[in-house]
Each structure stands twice: as C-alpha cells, then as structure tokens.
Symmetry: C2
C-alpha cells in the first residue's frame, strides 16, 4: 500500500505546528496554521472544535506537561517546593517568549497545567496560607516567572550605553558583563529568594512594610 | 489649495500605527504596516531607516515617554521612588500585553526609556547598592513589572475550576473573586512590597536565605 503523502492530521501535529508558528511569527493565526499543515481551515476545526482558544491551551499543555512539577519530594518544605516549581516553570517558557502573552490572555484550562497549580496551592495551604493570600502568592510567582522567562530570551545587553557621563546604569551593565554565568538566571534566583522571603512574611501574618522613606 | 487625501507620513504616525497593529494582531510585520498606512514599504523605510528594530523602539518611546518617572520627588526615599517607578511602568504596558515580548527581545535604546532606568540606577546607587546588585535589582523589578502588566490584561478568572473535589486552587479563586477591587493590582502591590523588602536585604548585605526546608 502506498503511504499517504501528508501524515494524518492530529491534535499533536496541530499543537506542535502552532507553537512553531508562534515562535517564528510572534503570533497565532489559524488560517495560516491550516496552510502550514497543508489542510483546509475546516479540517483544522474538525480536530480542534474550540478553535483558537483550544489551540492556545494545546500549546500550554505542550510546554508545561512533563515540565512543571506534579509531585512533591519526600520531606520537601514549601519554600523548597515553590522554588523548584518556579525554576521549572521559567525553564518551560524561556525558549518561547512570544507564547507568553498568549498564555496570560486566557483562562488556564489545560488539565496538566491546572494539576501543577493545584499542587502548588495545596503546598501553600498546608504551609498556612489563607485562601486569599494563597491566590496572591500564586499570582505573584506567576508574574515573576513569566517576566523572567521573557528576560531569559533577552539580548546579553538589555540596556544600550546611555552615553551620559558617569552613567550608573551603563557602569552597572559593564560590571555585570564581566561576571561569569547566566545574568538572567542569577537575577531570577535572587528575585525568587526575595519573593519567597516576602511570601513567608505574608504567610506568618507579618507582611513587609509598605513603601516608606528609608 | 486641495488638502492631500493621505496625511504626510511621519515617524509619529508610523509608531502609532505600529502599536495599533501589535494590539490588534499580536505582532509587528513591516509590510503590513506599510499597507495599513497606505504607503510603499520603501517609503516606510525612508522614515525608519533602522527598520523593525527602530519601529519597536518607537513603540517603546510611545509607551514610556511621559509615563515612566524622570525625576525624583523632594525627600523621596529609594523604596518610595522604586515603588512609584514600578507602578507607573506597569501602567504604561498594562493595556498593551502583546507589545511586552517585543520590548524584551531587543536592547533598550530609546533615550526617554533609558533616562528613566538611569534615574532608577542613580537612586539605587545612592541607597547603597553595588554595581552588580544594582543591575540585579533593576532586572528583578523589570521582570516582575512586565509579568504583572501581562497579568493586568488577563481574564478575571485566571484558572478554570479544576473540577477536583476539595480543590484548594478553585477554593482560593472563589474566595478572591468575592473581594472588592482589582485582583491583579492587589497582587502586584503585595509582590512589589515583598520584592522591595528582599532588595533592601540585598542592599544591606543580608540577602534572604536560599530556599530551605521550612
């Protein structure tokens, strides 16, 4: 029997092609996705009846399933777990910056992603976070991780030389360029530790003071 | 004299149309931008010789000039200033989530944006941050602000009901939905206070402990 020239259309193929399109063009357009796959738009919709939203959730699943934690290690404290959760989450999106705004623009419905958030919520609840504090904590982590994933794909020099005499920013950029290792990752680790310390104060009912003179 | 049917092409018109395209389509394509403006691609390049990069910097200027702080208030401490800087920066991008990955993908060269970062760097330097700590602090704030700007445009329900019995995440989502005011803004304020507390420890040489058992 002759092999079909075009492989059978599947949700897996659709989601992989959709992610490739987002990486290449910065956005997701379903008519173009159908063309990329060599099928009609109606064939595409036959596999993803929920349309664009369903494709975005498919990309979310592709990036998070198997990448975000779904179990807790034996004896792992909430800060250790949350640290690991954030590191793995950042890594999942770091290579796909253009996907980030698609992810934040719609409600998370992918079961694998939800399961990882649910585990984080359980760990935070067990550590003593109240319902509202818990959701704030998850949101704050989410914002920082996604911003850091974008930074991970940023150019080595985030800021051009200001050209101003005695510029503090340019001096700091030059000083940091001399340090070994991954600038973005070091900043992420440092910010994450700060956030976890701040969240610990929220958990124990001693929230950090509001911005004041110092 | 008859008025020309098409207004004269200018950098201002180009950048405004580019931002409108990013908001509408999620990305920036120069051939389409020329079509939107009713001009040839070569006319467009005549005004922005640096091409796509220059247009992205133009969008950056449009969003940050007049929005990000360029002066310090009388007697304003570093935490107060940094808090204000982050709040204004988030507000500048909150209505334009699709622009965020374009901004992080290239080196900041717009003079107005650089001037605001330079002022932040001066304030942090004066508060006692060393060169490398200073750049980490700026990066951490940048990541959190841009992630929060994306969250500001997120749907009211960030996470769908997990459907799991006794789900902690769904319970927290429901509890938080009952709270008045802007969920995203409250999370941002809370995360920002945590970050500023953490950065203060960095400044004073008492960095928050690494993630450990708790």
């Amino acid at each position: 029997m002759a092999r079909p020239i075009t492989p059978l259309l599947s949700r897996e193929r659709i989601f992989a092609a959709a992610l490739a399109q987002v990486d290449a063009t910065g956005t997701l357009a379903l008519p173009r996705l159908a063309r990329d796959l060599g099928v009609s738009t109606s064939s595409l919709y036959h596999h993803v009846k929920g349309g664009r939203e369903e494709v975005v959730e498919g990309i979310r699943g592709l990036l998070t399933e198997g990448s975000m934690p779904t179990s807790r290690h034996e004896g792992e404290g909430w800060r250790e777990f949350t640290h690991r959760w954030a590191v793995q989450y950042r890594a999942a999106f770091a290579a796909h910056p253009a996907a980030v705004p698609l992810m934040t623009a719609q409600t998370v419905t992918h079961p694998a992603t939800l399961a990882s958030y649910e585990l984080l919520a359980e760990v935070l609840h067990e550590a003593g976070f109240g319902d509202e504090e818990l959701l704030h904590a998850v949101t704050v982590l989410d914002c920082f991780v996604l911003g850091s994933a974008l930074d991970a794909g940023a150019p080595v020099d985030v800021w051009a030389d200001t050209g101003l005499p005695g510029s503090r920013l340019s001096r700091a950029v030059r000083a940091t360029r001399l340090q070994p290792g991954d600038r973005s990752l070091r900043s992420f680790q440092l910010g994450l530790r700060s956030l976890l310390a701040g969240l610990d104060e929220l958990r124990t009912g001693h929230p950090p003071a509001a911005a004041g003179r110092s």
